[in-house]
């Protein structure tokens, strides 16, 4: 009888210990500002989408830390044997979530998939590739049509899929069930409600510290705040500047801020004969804008003044550039010299649902320019319509924001500053039809420069030409990313510069 009692006691204790095991597993609930569109890693090139995919999939390379340093992921080594080839040595022993081995065939399959408009938003990368040579199971050489100096820089965004299961499954299933090599597997996705992830215990970097993550997309910012304030979620992304104060005042919450990579700037056309073709007018418009006041009043201090478009870690950032001073008197004088003492009329376009306080910034710019006699017609509209107009190149003067995921300014300059040239695919988002032969020439010369040091110097030179000599754009500021977390729960969260939420980097 006594023996039975002992055995029962031991059995109960063991049961209690076993039960305590899973309870100690760490879990995290996060509210993010935009829902995932799909679980196809190539179908959405927005940072909101890539942010989800980066947890299920790995690229050949990855970016880590403050300045987004390029480090190995599925490739352990990358080389650039000649201008058109990129050689990757792959990691051995990596398995996909379904148990398949990761090999060069998967890399070839994934890169070929990029060129298909049915499943890919990375057409630009996909179409540049002419051949993918599988040397052996763990060596791949990718050849491009033209030299792409920033090719490797983009490898953290191109995720590798499992060839066998992707081909075998129905295309619709591929859109909703990710099978990657990433640190997390998808447990359940209920559209509009949540995405649940569980740790991939066999992850090649070691299992992530947090075993299960629940991501709740909440688009309405006040609801996201309520979710945090009521303790339902632990981390919230995208705190709008107007909610900063309530979060800071709440003793249970803590704000985590990070200078964002994205800069906000104004693009100006230079159609021959128009006032803005005169550099003095461009200078006057630059000097008429009180950026400090925009940052203080509209951004409520959550932005840093910009003197150029790229941010510090980007190749092409020029530390010697500084903003023209705010000086409406000189601006007026410059306008008079240029032959517009009474100003002129211009239309300022911009999105109203894309960047932090975008519409308010446009209104402020209109107000500042009115002070030096330039009458501004505001034309602010939803981003879906605004960006169509940018792509058509029919605008005169507009607000836009940008940062380059490759950390190399070359690609962005071709897209935003080169004269529009549909045949070569240049200037696709040069919305005001800006054109400058000298700038085009220097820009085209950079396309073949691979040597990092030489490339940096040339892009810096180009940047100076654009910002100082020609005033292609009027830079405004770099945004700041604001997150909020529950205080005192030991959450270790360092936001990434690209705004991705990579849960293997978070601990608590």
């Amino acid at each position: 009888m006594k023996k039975l009692a002992w055995m029962t006691a031991i059995a109960l204790m063991t049961a209690a210990l076993v039960a305590a095991g899973p309870a100690a597993a760490k879990s995290l609930v996060v509210a993010v500002d935009s829902p995932p569109r799909m679980m196809n890693p190539h179908g959405d090139d927005s940072d909101a989408g890539l942010s989800f995919m980066a947890n299920f999939f790995d690229g050949l390379l990855q970016r880590k830390g403050e300045d987004g340093k390029l480090t190995p992921a599925l490739a352990v080594k990358w080389e650039h044997p000649d201008a058109l080839s990129w050689k990757f040595t792959l990691r051995k022993g990596v398995k996909f979530h379904n148990g398949n081995d990761f090999t060069a065939a998967d890399v070839k399959f994934s890169f070929e998939r990029l060129g298909s408009p049915e499943v890919s938003e990375f057409l630009n990368t996909g179409k540049q590739i002419t051949a993918i040579d599988v040397i052996d199971d763990y060596t791949v050489v990718i050849k491009t049509k033209e030299p792409i100096p920033w090719f490797a820089n983009n490898m953290h965004q191109i995720f590798i899929m499992d060839k066998e299961s992707t081909e075998a499954r129905d295309p619709g299933d591929v859109m909703i069930k990710p099978i990657g090599t990433g640190a997390y597997k998808l447990q359940e996705w209920v559209k509009g409600s949540y995405v649940r992830l569980t740790a991939n215990e066999n992850y090649w970097e070691g299992a992530p510290p947090i075993q299960s993550v629940e991501i709740r997309p909440i688009t309405e910012s006040s609801t996201r705040f309520a979710a945090l304030a009521s303790g339902k979620v632990e981390i919230v992304t995208g705190i709008p500047v107007e909610l900063y104060e309530p979060v800071v005042k709440n003793p249970k919450l803590e704000v985590v801020s990070r200078p964002a990579r994205r800069s906000i700037f104004l693009a100006l056309g230079n159609k021959a004969g128009s006032p803005m073709a005169d550099i003095r007018v461009r200078k006057a418009m630059y000097m008429a804008i009180n950026e400090d006041e925009i940052i203080e009043k509209i951004m409520r201090g959550h932005a840093a003044p910009a003197a150029q478009i790229p941010d510090v870690p980007t190749v092409g950032y020029n530390p010697d550039l500084s903003r023209l001073p705010y000086d409406p008197a000189t601006a007026k004088k410059l306008l008079a010299e240029a032959g517009y003492p009474d100003g002129f009329t211009v239309t300022l376009s911009g999105p109203n649902d894309r960047y932090v306080q975008d519409e308010k910034i446009c209104e402020a710019v209109a107000k500042y320019l009115a002070k030096i006699g330039i009458e501004v017609n505001l034309d602010v509209k939803p981003k879906s319509i605004f960006f169509s107009e940018v792509a058509e190149g029919t605008l005169e003067f507009y607000l836009i924001g940008w940062f380059d995921g490759t950390y190399d300014m070359g690609r962005t300059y071709f897209k935003l500053a080169h004269s529009r040239d549909a045949d070569q695919g240049f200037g696709g988002l040069n919305g005001a039809n800006y054109s400058n032969a000298e700038l085009d020439k220097l820009l085209e010369s950079t396309a073949k420069i691979i040597d990092p040091e030489k490339r940096r110097q040339t892009l810096q030179r180009l940047n100076k030409m654009a910002m100082v000599e020609q005033i292609v754009w009027i830079p405004l500021h770099y945004q700041e990313d604001l997150y909020a977390i529950q205080k005192g729960q030991g959450i270790q969260f360092d936001p990434r510069p690209d705004r991705w939420m990579v849960y293997k980097e978070i601990d608590k």
Partner: protein, 321 residues
């Protein structure tokens, strides 16, 4: 009756055609979906290729005829954004919206008619005045404000109800329901109240007006004189006649609640169809938008027809010839 229903169905088809045509015309001004789909760095050529692969390079009327042909075969196209069938995306969200709208309309019917009768019987009592003042608030307060206030009071300060989402759900066949768990019902309370406020106020005012008019009628006086019990007089003789416009209104509102609970769903991050519609509009996901609007039209038209049929049940004197 049958010819009447057939006639209404035919009208319904014409309405659907008109709705779809309007959708297609509006899309021309809604922004270009191809730009995002080709990716940020796509060249003009690549953008054209995507346009072609989606069939968007063809003239609008060709696209429209193709759409009609496919829709007639039950195929509403694939979402541009998530690249799965649009109808499936919407139907997946239907249970959430349907449960929310049903609870909201029940709340408004029960409280709207109940308070309406109460107010009509004692129009000058203080509680009647308070209710009427409240109903004015219900009509004039925008939904997003009601929602945010409820969240702030009950979820953030009092902490007794959850601020967002649908809570724990259970799958019953294809239907994912939140009504079978306590957590699911707790999550339903705030959004259902928010969604019902406006409708409640309208039904209340409608019932009150009708009741006050009917209560003054000769036949009610006769009923009182016959010595019938107050319940019989109020419910059977008076309310039954008042209910016709109330039911019409509630029916129409129900259709609208299902189709356009967009604001409430967005504020409470309710995973319903309205939430999907808003996201789709932001992303210019035309197949989802057009399918949604067609579905909304079908729902509203069917509810209208059902309401007409229900009339005949409530008042046998009504004939459709």
């Amino acid at each position: 009756m049958l010819t009447y229903i057939l006639r209404r169905l035919l009208q319904g088809v014409i309405v659907l055609l008109a709705v779809s045509l309007i959708c297609f015309v509006i899309f021309r001004y809604m922004g270009d979906p191809v730009l995002t789909l080709a990716g940020r760095y796509a060249t003009q050529d690549q953008i054209q290729e995507v346009r072609k692969s989606l069939g968007l390079d063809q003239p609008t009327y060709v696209q429209y005829v193709k759409f009609l042909w496919n829709a007639a075969h039950g195929n509403f196209g694939k979402s541009y954004v998530s690249r799965v069938p649009a109808l499936g995306l919407i139907l997946e969200r239907f249970p959430a919206t349907f449960e929310l709208a049903t609870c909201a309309i029940l709340i408004s019917l029960v409280f709207g008619v109940g308070f309406g009768v109460l107010v009509a019987l004692r129009p000058y009592a203080w509680h009647s005045r308070a209710i009427m003042a409240g109903s004015l608030g219900g009509i004039s307060m925008p939904t997003f404000l009601t929602g945010i206030l409820l969240i702030m009071i009950f979820a953030v300060y009092a902490g007794i109800l959850p601020p967002f989402g649908r809570g724990k759900t259970v799958d019953v066949g294809f239907w994912r329901t939140g009504l079978l768990t306590v957590d699911g019902i707790r999550h339903l309370i705030l959004p259902a109240i928010t969604l019902s406020t406006y409708q409640l106020a309208v039904l209340l005012r409608l019932t009150r007006a009708g009741m006050r008019e009917v209560m003054a009628e000769e036949y009610i006086k006769t009923a009182w004189a016959k010595g019938l019990s107050p319940i019989t007089v109020i419910v059977k003789h008076a309310l039954r006649n008042v209910l016709i416009p109330v039911v019409t209104m509630a029916g129409l509102q129900f259709g609208e609640l299902i189709a356009f609970a967009i604001v409430t769903e967005t504020i409470f991050q309710w995973p319903g169809m309205g939430n999907l519609l808003l996201t789709s509009i932001y992303e210019t996901d035309q197949p989802v938008i057009v399918t949604y609007i067609m579905m909304a039209a079908v729902i509203i038209i069917s509810i209208n027809i059902l309401v007409d049929i229900f009339y005949a049940v409530l008042n046998p004197k009504i004939r459709y010839d």
